[in-house]
Symmetry: C2
Subunit: 341 residues, 2 copies
DNA sequence: TTGTATGCGTTATCAG
DNA sequence: CTGATAACGCATACAA
C-alpha cells in the first residue's frame, strides 16, 4: 500500500515549481525544452500518477458522466451501456453507472449520488421518476433522456415510436392472415407498454378486426410473466393463431409455454416480440420482432452528450422502429385447424 | 446550472464554525442540541449537498470500489455486476465499473483509470492480463479476483471448478447412454476453456470411451461460433449423439444450427451448455447445463470485499459446480438411428 | 517562460 | 463542546 507520489514531489525532483509540472501535464502553456525533459524524467522515475480527485476539485469538473439505468443485468440495458461506454471512449469522459431498478425512490437516490459525485452530465435510461425531477436535474447539468419524451426538454429525449412499432408488428401478422391475435402487454403503469398496446389496437381497427379483451393479458416485461400469460391464454375460451408479446423477454416465456403445450411455432401459432434483443436471433425459431438498436442507441446517446458538453445542442435524431421478420411468424394457411379450439 | 451550496455557507447561515457543521455531518463528536438544530435547519433551508470530491480528498478515501469486468453487456457478467451492486448496497461503498473487453491493454488502462480515481478497493472479473499485474494491484489496494486462481493471492480468488463442471456434464451424458459426444470448446487461450475440455476428456477416459479429435471444435464463447461449430460437426464424418458446448451462449448457437438442419433436441441430439445463464431456463427446450450462480457470486464478492475492507480476511468460499438437468438431454434409446450417419 | 500565492470544499489537528 | 488553522493534491490568476 505504497503512498502515492504527488505533483509537488515531482516538481522538487525535477527542480522546478509545481506550476510548471502542472502546465506540462495539462499542456496549458509552453515550457522550455530542458525543464520539460527534467519533469518527464522525474515523472517516470517516481512513477507519478496524478490524483484525479484533487484535479477534479481544483478544476471544478470531473469528466464523469452519470448514467442511470434500470437494470444493469438486462440484455436491453446492458447492451446500451456498452454502447454508451463505447461512444465515450477516447473522449476523456468516464461513465459512472447507477441502477434505479425501475423504482422511483431508488432512482432518486441514485441521481443524488451521481450529482453529489459532481458528474459533469447525466444520461437517464427509462425509469419511473416524475418528469419534474428530471427537469430539475436538467437545470443543474446537461441531461439526455432515453425512453421518455419530456416536452420541457426538447431535443434531449430519445425514444422509439412504440406505437408505430407495435402497429407494424400487428399489421405484419394481419397480412399473414392472422385475425385473432393475442397480446401479452407490459405493465399498464409503463408508458411504453401502453403505447404498444395502442399500436396493436390501431392495427386491428384499421383492418376491421374486432378487439377482444380476453386476448389481452398483462405481464411485467419479464420471461416468467410471458410464460404465465401464454399458459392462461390457452385456458381461456377465445381462440387465436398468433401472439404478440410486448417485449422479447416475455416472448421467450411464451415460447416455452407453447413448447410445454406441444404447440409448434410458427406452424401452429405465430409469435412476435419487441426489442430485438441479441438472443432473439438464436431462439428456436428465431423471433420476428421490432428492432431497437440498443448498442447503436447507446453510442448515439454518448455522442450527443459529448456534443452537448461542447456547447452545441444535443440534437437527438428520431428513431424509426424497424420490423425484423424472422422465422417465428408464418402465413396462415386457411385450412389451418391448428390454431386451437 | 445553479452553483452548489458549500459547507462554509451553511456554517455562516447557522452562525457556527464550519468545523461544527462537519462534525454534525459526520457524527464525529457531540454537538450541543441548539447548534445542531440550527445547522440542520440551515442545511435544509439552503438545500446543502456535501461535495463528495472535496470530502474524499480530505479524508483520503473515496468509498468507491473499482470493478473491472470484461463485458458489461454479457448476461454472465451483467448478472454478476448486479450482484455486486446489491451486495454493496447500504454499505456506503459505490461500485465503479470499467470494461476490459477481454483485452489485456484495455484492462490495464481500465485499472489505471480506476486507481487514479483512488478507488478504495478493486474487484477484477476474469480478464487476460498477467497475474503479475494483479499482484501489483493487490499491493496497492484490497483486491478480489473472480475467475482466476492466483497462488500469490490466497483467499482472494473465487473460481468455479471448471474441470469438475465439465466432467459432471459429460458424465451425465454418458450415463444417459451417449458414447459419441461432440465438444464445442472455448478459445484455447482461455484457461476456463482448457479446463472444461480437460474435464470432458477425463469423463470420457473414465468411462473407457475414446477421445475423438474430430468431434472437438473450437469456438470463441459467442453464439455465432457455436452455430458454426455445430454446422461443421455435421459436415464431418464422425457421428455423435450429443453436443457439449463449453458455455451456454455457444449452446444457443448450436441449438439454432440443429434447428436449421431439422435435427430435434433432445430427440435426435442431446445438448448441454455451461454457466446456466438466466435465459437457459427459457430456451426450447430448456438447457441442461452447469450452474454458475452469477448473481449470488456477485453478492459474495461484494460481501467478502466489505469484510476485507473492515480488516478481516476476504475468506472466499469454494464454489462447487452444480449440474442442472433440464430438457435438452435425454436417455439414448438403443434403437436410435437418429443420431445421424 | 516561470514561480508565487491562493483557492477548490472538506476533514482533522489542536487549542481553548 | 467549539473554533481557528492547517492539510488534501492540483490548477490558475498574477507577477516577474
Amino acid at each position: 500500500m505504497e503512498s502515492s507520489v504527488t505533483l509537488a514531489e515531482v516538481a522538487r525532483q525535477a527542480g522546478v515549481s509545481s506550476s510548471t509540472v502542472s502546465r506540462i501535464l495539462n499542456g496549458t502553456t509552453n515550457v522550455s525544452h530542458a525543464k520539460r525533459e527534467a519533469v518527464e524524467r522525474a515523472i517516470t522515475a517516481l512513477n507519478y500518477k496524478p490524483n484525479v480527485l484533487a484535479r477534479n476539485l481544483a478544476r471544478g469538473r470531473t469528466m464523469n458522466i452519470g448514467v442511470l439505468t434500470q437494470d444493469i443485468s438486462s440484455p436491453f440495458y446492458g447492451d446500451m451501456l456498452r454502447g454508451i461506454e463505447q461512444g465515450l471512449a477516447g473522449s476523456g469522459y468516464l461513465p459512472i453507472f447507477a441502477d434505479g431498478h425501475w423504482h422511483a425512490e431508488e432512482e432518486n437516490a441514485a441521481i443524488d449520488v451521481l450529482l453529489s459525485h459532481k458528474t459533469d452530465a447525466m444520461i437517464v435510461l427509462g425509469g419511473a421518476i416524475p418528469d419534474q425531477r428530471l427537469i430539475e436535474v436538467a437545470a443543474q447539468v446537461p441531461l439526455i433522456v432515453f425512453g421518455r419524451d419530456i416536452h420541457q426538454l426538447p431535443g434531449q429525449c430519445l425514444k422509439i415510436d412504440n406505437e408505430q412499432g407495435a402497429y407494424l408488428l400487428t399489421r405484419h401478422l394481419i397480412e399473414f392472415g392472422h385475425q385473432r391475435i393475442a397480446h401479452i402487454a407490459g405493465p399498464s403503469a409503463h408508458r411504453d407498454a401502453r403505447d404498444r398496446l395502442s399500436g396493436y389496437k390501431t392495427a386491428l381497427e384499421e383492418a376491421g378486426l374486432p378487439f377482444i379483451p380476453e386476448l389481452v393479458l398483462e405481464g411485467d416485461f419479464l420471461e416468467t410473466s410471458g410464460f404465465v400469460a401464454a399458459t392462461r391464454l390457452f385456458e381461456g375460451r377465445e381462440m387465436f393463431s398468433a401472439i404478440f408479446a410486448a417485449n422479447d423477454q416475455m416472448a421467450y416465456g411464451a415460447r416455452l409455454a407453447l413448447y410445454r403445450k406441444g404447440v409448434r411455432v410458427p406452424d401452429d401459432i405465430s409469435l412476435v416480440g419487441f426489442d430485438d434483443l441479441p438472443s432473439s436471433t438464436y431462439t428456436t425459431p428465431p423471433l420476428t420482432t421490432v428492432r431497437q438498436p440498443t448498442y447503436e442507441l447507446g453510442i448515439t446517446l454518448a455522442q450527443s452528450m459529448l456534443r452537448m458538453l461542447s456547447g452545441e445542442r444535443a440534437n437527438l435524431p428520431d428513431i424509426k422502429p424497424q420490423l425484423v421478420i424472422r422465422e417465428s411468424t408464418v402465413m396462415l394457411r386457411y385450412s389451418a385447424s391448428t390454431h386451437r379450439r
